[in-house]
Symmetry: C2
Subunit: 211 residues, 2 copies
Amino acid sequence: MSTVTSQLSISLDGYVAGPEQSLQDPLGRGGEQLHEWVYGLETWRAQHGLSGGERGVDAEVVDEMTRDVGAYVMGRRMFGGGDGPWDETWHGWWGEEPPFRTPVFVLTHQPREPLPMAGGTTFRFVTDGVHSALEQAREAAGDGKVAIAGGASTVRQYLAAGLLDTLQLHIVPVVLGGGERLLTGLDDLRLEQAAVVAGPTVTHVTYRVLR
Amino acid sequence: MSTVTSQLSISLDGYVAGPEQSLQDPLGRGGEQLHEWVYGLETWRAQHGLSGGERGVDAEVVDEMTRDVGAYVMGRRMFGGGDGPWDETWHGWWGEEPPFRTPVFVLTHQPREPLPMAGGTTFRFVTDGVHSALEQAREAAGDGKVAIAGGASTVRQYLAAGLLDTLQLHIVPVVLGGGERLLTGLDDLRLEQAAVVAGPTVTHVTYRVLR
């Protein structure tokens, strides 16, 4: 069966977004610092249709985490477009050619027809919960991995349900002082360190989730 | 001038001690899991007068973090013996031959005569604050490092005062769900990753504190 993985950038004080998150500012105050390590990388830029960028350890980490992903699952807030019934003109944050290039299952309470995009991404909207979304993603992924793309509350739901196999954290040396915590309400969670990669500015640690 | 360093084991959710800390249980519920990586190591055992133990990456980390330390500073709670006026029969948690083997400056509001112990450790009690304790420790350390031994609130005070040069975190894959947070009230703290060592079960990351 497909491996189910997730990866997030996390501050040293345990936050995956800063304080005062809003629809306009989903990363919260200071939260963009969590992702600065990724924007200049060649692999990230290539996935987003941009040329150039840095190679190196971090680029390999990004390459590795997207390689062999056969389907993604994400929460509605990560897909965006606000709450309530769909504004059908909203096609996600990523323009007409999103970087996923696979089926992407979006968790939502509002039904919507599948939304095929350029470059191989199709957004499919799942209204019957995390187990169903994962089942559909596994089927779509075939031999590939299923990646839980985010946000944090979606990752937390999969962790809580015991459905995640590996969790990769990019540990960023910033202190946000508040915001959205990843590992909360998960006291029974048991993890085991599986791999460590030292980037130039952040540390990438992959954990196996024990059952 | 002496480098001022500190090192702590921290959970993935940012705690350096578990919930329900008390004088009897200073590590809090589950907190002992933060330190399991260290107890079997040859270097740790040797420092505590025990023979045998494991060698390897973690042992080298422990060796490195105690090498060249010329003086320690610790909070009263780490030294122990309860609050209020001293019970002069209390000589710390470490028996008659403590592992420090240097002067150790204990922050306290209660004056007490210096307490020389076997093996080179002398506990000195400082009643005029963190700056004074550090100044005395620097003088005692000579060319050696000054290590802020703990507990977390003492390390936090030195971080807040801008007096720490490096902070090493041993990132342990446990989730404590509550307890004592290290990096709280330190929103202005700026850190830079300096070194990463992957142990078999935990990751050791050294951060430079930027000013």
